[in-house]
């Protein structure tokens, strides 16, 4: 892909030049900042975030720590790495919030197709594996066979599914069209808590329908579900392939359901995942988990440092600088 020369290539050019000069001039730094800006944009970091990020880098790069460094170029790169990891890592090191008095309630929310239902299975599997007794709740009554999907996923994870309403299915009422809701997801969510208390499940994972940030009606519904169950965690699931829309969407969900943590999905792909940086810096909410495949076990705790290298292609840059 000729159009996407990596940051490594571009910075290596810039640094070759720098190495011969030793000291960094303001224009050297601006040139480097331009390359970083470009790399961030190619990685889908949102424009506003790129702007504030690069201006912070520039400020630090012009300061004493760089001009007095033995290898100024190396210093600039480590500043970039440090700042990226700082934003991505804010609050990451915390475990899931568990309720003092069970059940712990975890609600999933996000755009259509982000990976919520798949994540419900993964969370269920992981919790069961660590000695919990989770229950999955089918509160997406809108997407055709969303309930069936959760049931299949639950069966694979050997986690029970609370599904009092069938949602949109071929067998259910023939009045309902795809895209229109059946039944009341708020009631399903509310009833699931009593069910869990009664049957002694210690964690309740509520799968909700995908919704757009601009869909006020459905955002209100998500808020109603939240208010009905008072979740200990509201996880915002976002696709690593998302572009500039990440900010607007994250803001809408933040205002709509005030999520407590972020899950970045489809990280097994080759998208750079700049959205991680956008969402973290715009909402200040921690990224807790990474989803890395379609299988039940393709799920891990989020690693800010790995994500920083990924966004900027920094792994290579760091080696490159070390060789300098």
């Amino acid at each position: 892909m000729a159009a996407f020369t990596s940051l490594t290539d571009r910075l290596s050019q810039a640094f070759k030049h720098l190495r011969s000069k030793g000291k960094l001039s303001e224009s050297d730094i601006d040139g480097t900042i331009r390359e970083i800006r470009r790399a961030l944009l190619d990685a889908d970091v949102s424009l506003d975030v790129v702007r504030s990020f690069t201006s912070r880098i520039r400020e630090r790069a012009l300061g004493a720590e760089v001009s007095q460094a033995l290898n100024p170029a190396q210093q600039v790169v480590s500043i970039v790495n440090e700042e990226l990891t700082k934003i991505l890592g804010a609050g990451v090191d915390r475990p899931l919030n568990f309720a003092k008095k069970p059940p712990t309630v975890i609600m999933l929310a996000g755009l259509q197709g982000a990976g919520k239902t798949t994540l419900a299975g993964k969370l269920g599997y992981w919790l069961r594996d660590t000695g919990h007794t989770p229950l999955l709740v089918a509160a997406d009554l809108q997407r055709p066979n969303a309930v069936t999907q959760l049931q299949v996923v639950g069966a694979r994870a050997e986690v029970p599914v609370f599904a009092p309403e069938p949602g949109v299915q071929a067998e259910s009422s023939d009045v309902v069209e795809p895209g229109k809701a059946t039944g009341d997801p708020v009631k399903v969510a509310r009833d699931s808590i009593a069910f869990a208390q009664d049957k002694l499940y210690d964690t309740v994972i509520i799968d909700t329908a995908g919704r757009l940030g601009v869909d006020q009606e459905l955002m209100q519904q998500a808020q109603n579900i939240r208010n009905a169950v008072n979740p200990n965690e509201i996880l915002f699931v976002i696709d690593a392939m998302i572009g500039q829309d990440a900010v607007q969407t994250a803001k809408a969900f933040d205002e709509g359901v005030d999520f407590t943590g972020v899950v970045l999905s489809k990280l097994d792909g080759d998208a750079r995942g700049g959205a991680a940086l956008s969402v973290a810096s715009v909402t200040g909410k921690p990224i807790l988990f990474a989803s890395t495949g379609e299988g039940l076990k393709d799920f891990e705790v989020f690693h800010p440092d790995r994500m920083a290298s990924r966004i900027l292609d920094m792994g290579d840059v760091l080696t490159l600088i070390e060789q300098a």
């Binding site: 892909m1 159009a3 996407f4 470009r38 944009l41 190619d42 990685a43 889908d44 424009l47 755009l111 259509q112 197709g113 982000a114 990976g115 239902t117 798949t118 299975g121 809108q142 997407r143 055709p144 066979n145 069936t148 999907q149 049931q151 299949v152 996923v153 694979r156 949109v168 299915q169 071929a170 023939d174 069209e177 795809p178 895209g179 229109k180 757009l212 940030g213 601009v214 869909d215 009606e217 696709d239 392939m241 998302i242 572009g243 500039q244 829309d245 607007q248 969407t249 809408a252 489809k266 097994d268 792909g269 080759d270 998208a271 750079r272 700049g274 959205a275 379609e294």
Partner: protein, 308 residues
Amino acid sequence: IRLRARLSKSANPLGKALFTILSKNHLTNSDWEDVEDTLLLADVGADASSRLVDQLKSDVRIQGETEPNTVREMLKTRLLAIVDAGMDRRLCAELSETQVPNDQKPSVIIMVGVNGTGKTTTAGKLARFFVAEGRTVMMAAADTFRAAAADQLETWGNRVGVRVVRSDKDGADPASVAFEAAHTAKEQGSDVLIVDTAGRLQNKANLMQELGKIRRVIEKTAKVDEVLLVLDATTGQNGMAQAKVFADAIGITGIVLTKLDGSARGGIVISVQQELGVPVKLVGLGEGPDDLTVFDPATFVDGILAVN
């Protein structure tokens, strides 16, 4: 109805910010940057955006243009020229206005794309569309992997009155479902066969190979007229890699841009169209059966320029 209300809200085709910039009598560097920002925010991409702005700058210089209204029009015209490019956006199955001879039936459409973009939903909407045109349609559930994927397609089939060929067991070979469906559709003289495939990320080589196999197996019985790459409008720069790899693996004849009812504008398709020479044919505007429309370059360009 929700959707229509939402769409009518974005009545101002050129966003407020752009409108203010381009209303000034003299354009400074930072004004040009703001124009570029508008494109970047719509996911047009750094490369394509800066190229566009450079072209516009030179247009303005050459024509000695200072009238803001004209500059505004020039930007729109430039963008439209790139997006439109005189491509044929009709679906192959639609092309044959007269009765298709029986030995050329069915006309096969394969849906492909990464996970969760809207393949199954678009298959359902398309089926509905063809049925409304008076065609006989069949669908094939060649996603045997995703939990309840075949059930989801079957629900759509049920709603739009179209038969779905599927396997009863999870994890069956998707190519053999496709083969059986092509056979059945031919036997029954269906006009159109729509094949739904599992979502797959383009960096998974084995899954990409599987797509090629699905196509070859169908071609033993019927002609594949369309392979539609379903791209989610929220997708950023990775959309280009998706398009390239899918094009290599199975060949692509058109793009469906879904979820354009949200706040994302889908600007990546500009580069995709240019690079692959494959047109966006359809647009998804919601989750219901009728939320599918043909791609209209002018509306799309208005959407890009309306980003705040």
